[in-house]
């Protein structure tokens, strides 16, 4: 009559994978109301998850290190260390989104850093005979570097897009070629010292000059960003109103604005809580006629220039990715290259330009790193490509294409650097650091894939 049937629940529980899956489902349903609120706010849940993960890492290291990790000094250094990787990661996102990869960024960074060092230390002052310490040296150097970076990136992109060689191969070749070229024309020499204005880009100090905004400029920049956030929220809301679309409730808008502004001002507060080194501060006070108080001199450092540059790059790249046709096309190509071509998109040109864009960003990072070292060395940027790719991937960029955000990659870079910096504080040796970062990378992507599969 009726054949014996196994209860479906029993089979699901019998398999370990099933029980993990049902656990995830249970957590998911428990978070249902939270998720509903978040969708109400139209907040990117993945990005929020990453912020949460970062918070856990910070608090965890903070406790274990007895508060040192969360000191302004450590956080300020962390921000500077994250900046150069974050700048490149924002460009790497677009390349991975359009189903490519760039393995050459580390070598290219070395090559561009070297070329920029030569430009300011040899070519402008000696070959052209214009002398050292010219006020324009730093900007000419940077513009030249960015142009060269865009050209070299574009060259690789051209081979990828028009010759049809896989980007993995082209940029693997680039990795070898650019590094080889450095050794060839540097002959193992270190180029130093660099132009004093240029050094400011690294966030270091030269005499009493500091590569940071200082107290008031930091606060003002924070205020400007806050105004920008509020303005963006208001215009977006107006636009949706005008077309009669549903809008977020007003309390949600106000909350988003407040949280955003609080985060920005919090960053500025931390940067301003980090004092200049005492000898620099005393010299600075003497130069500016500031009396030295008996209980010690406290001159805020403010937001470091590399971080200011990173913020600017983030802003521009986010704008390109989400508000410009080019960005839309990059995502469309990642989602379905054939569909993009049938829609009349110039796929080849778009792909080439993503590589060119990353090349320009590599030049900016190269400037930051050489400025920080006050020198160009032949092994500059070695293994940076791995950090940059990891940052993008931890930040939610998918190798299957079409998925990834710029803010995510920036956060990814900060997460990576936080792990490293925290482990350094805890005196974890460098091989162990690599093992941990490697495991975190795989675990993060695994978890993300698992959650995404479950949500479909």
């Amino acid at each position: 009559m009726s054949s014996p049937t196994v209860p479906t629940g029993a089979t699901a529980q019998g398999r370990p994978a099933g029980s993990v899956r049902s656990l995830v489902a249970a957590i998911g349903s428990a978070l249902g109301p939270v998720r509903a609120t978040l969708s109400y706010l139209e907040v990117d849940t993945r990005l929020l998850g990453m912020v949460l993960a970062l918070a856990i890492i910070w608090v965890g290291f903070g406790i274990v290190s007895g508060g040192t990790f969360l000191s302004p000094r450590n956080l300020w250094n962390l921000s500077v260390q994250s900046a150069s990787i974050a700048i490149m990661a924002s460009g790497m996102v677009l390349i991975i989104v359009s189903r490519g990869i760039d393995l050459s960024v580390g070598s290219m960074l070395g090559f561009l850093g070297y070329t920029m060092a030569m430009t300011q230390a040899v070519w402008i002052p000696q070959v052209l005979g214009l002398g050292f310490g010219q006020p324009y040296t730093w900007i000419v150097t940077i513009l030249f570097g960015i142009l060269l970076g865009a050209l070299l990136g574009g060259l690789q992109g051209f081979v990828v897009a028009y010759a049809g060689v896989p980007s993995f191969i082209v940029t693997l070749g680039g990795l070898l070629v650019w590094r080889g070229l450095i050794f060839r024309y540097a002959q193992g020499q270190t180029i130093a010292p660099l132009d004093q204005n240029f050094q400011m880009l690294g966030g270091g100090t030269v005499g009493t000059r500091v590569g940071a905004l200082g107290e008031w400029a930091s606060w003002i920049l924070g205020a400007v960003i806050c105004v920008g956030i509020v303005f963006t929220l208001i215009t977006a809301r107006r636009r949706r109103h005008r077309y009669g679309f549903p809008v977020r409730p007003l309390w949600a808008e106000v909350m988003l604005g407040l949280v955003g502004c609080a985060a920005v001002m919090g960053v500025m507060w931390v940067a301003n809580s980090y004092p200049l080194p005492i000898n620099v501060a005393i010299q600075y006070a003497q130069e500016h006629g500031i009396p030295i108080p008996p209980d010690g001199l406290f001159i805020p450092t403010g937001l470091a220039f590399p971080v200011v540059i990173m913020l600017g790059v983030t802003l521009v790249m986010t704008f390109i990715a989400s508000r410009r046709r080019f960005g839309r096309y990059v995502y469309a190509i990642g989602g379905n290259p054939e569909a993009a071509a049938l829609a009349g998109i110039n796929v080849r040109r778009t792909v080439m330009l993503t590589f060119s864009l990353l090349g320009a960003l590599v030049a900016i990072s190269a400037a930051v790193q050489t400025a920080r070292l006050n020198a160009a060395v032949t092994n500059l940027g070695i293994q940076n490509e791995l950090d940059v790719i990891s940052a993008a991937v931890i930040g939610g960029t998918s190798f299957s294409g079409g998925i990834g955000t710029i803010p995510g990659a920036i956060l990814g870079a900060v997460v990576m650097q936080s792990l490293r910096s925290g482990m350094v504080l805890l005196l974890v040796d460098s091989p162990t650091q690599d093992i941990v970062v490697g495991l975190v990378l795989v675990a993060a992507v695994g978890l993300d894939t698992f959650v995404r599969r479950g949500s479909r």
Partner: protein, 272 residues
Amino acid sequence: MLTQPIEIPAVAPQRVPLVEMRNIQVSFGGVHAVDGVSIDLYPGEVVGLVGGNGAGKSTLMRTLSGARPPDAGEIRVTGQPVMIANPRDAKALGIETIYQTLALADNLDAPANVFLGREITGTATLNDAAMESATRKVISRLNPNFKNFKMAVLRLSGGQRQAVAIARAIQFNARVLIMDEPTAALGPAETAQVHALIEQLKREGIGIFLVSHDIHDVFDLSERISVMYHGKLVGTVKKEAVTTDEVLGMIILGKPPTKLTSQDLAELHRSG
């Protein structure tokens, strides 16, 4: 937009075809995928294009949509010879295509797909609100229950995805529509919606090439039926002049109705 139907004179003694394709040739390596095919299409008309797998019907349509320019032959649009070298050229001529694969960027939302390659821009930026507004309008004609305008189309149902693909084709003043298997992935209700849409588009004076495996779809919707067989055109027949058996004979045996014998038809029924 379709809200302004193209005026067709009530009496049109010498109508100019919307599209004429003459002696179109497409070869892949040594294989003639399309071999000297000539077909045409008039305003407000549906021409069904049928044939077995590999008969060349999709390849023929790809020459018209700009996806694969022909190796030889001539295409005229409203009497004027045109060069269609890429999808952009075709779209500029008002030739829109709904591909069998739908050709959607799965990671983007419906408005981004509808306007892909033809985005509305404000001062230097994409105007997503304007695109969403237009998309809501055009999709509501196809599927009033469609709500997920902010969701990646990957997560939509087959019918909703189809609606996005169709919306993209009719959003931009299409004069000629190429529909490649438009109902293959649809349920009965959604198929009925597509049929109603085709009738409506016809009344608006749009010419439609309907590529389909489904002989009943083709008989329901087309005025004329063109049959392809191994890259060649077997013939173009008026729907009223033929039976489904005769069309099947053209598809399977590659013979025009005049040459079909009763023995052929018997064989068709035995194998079918």
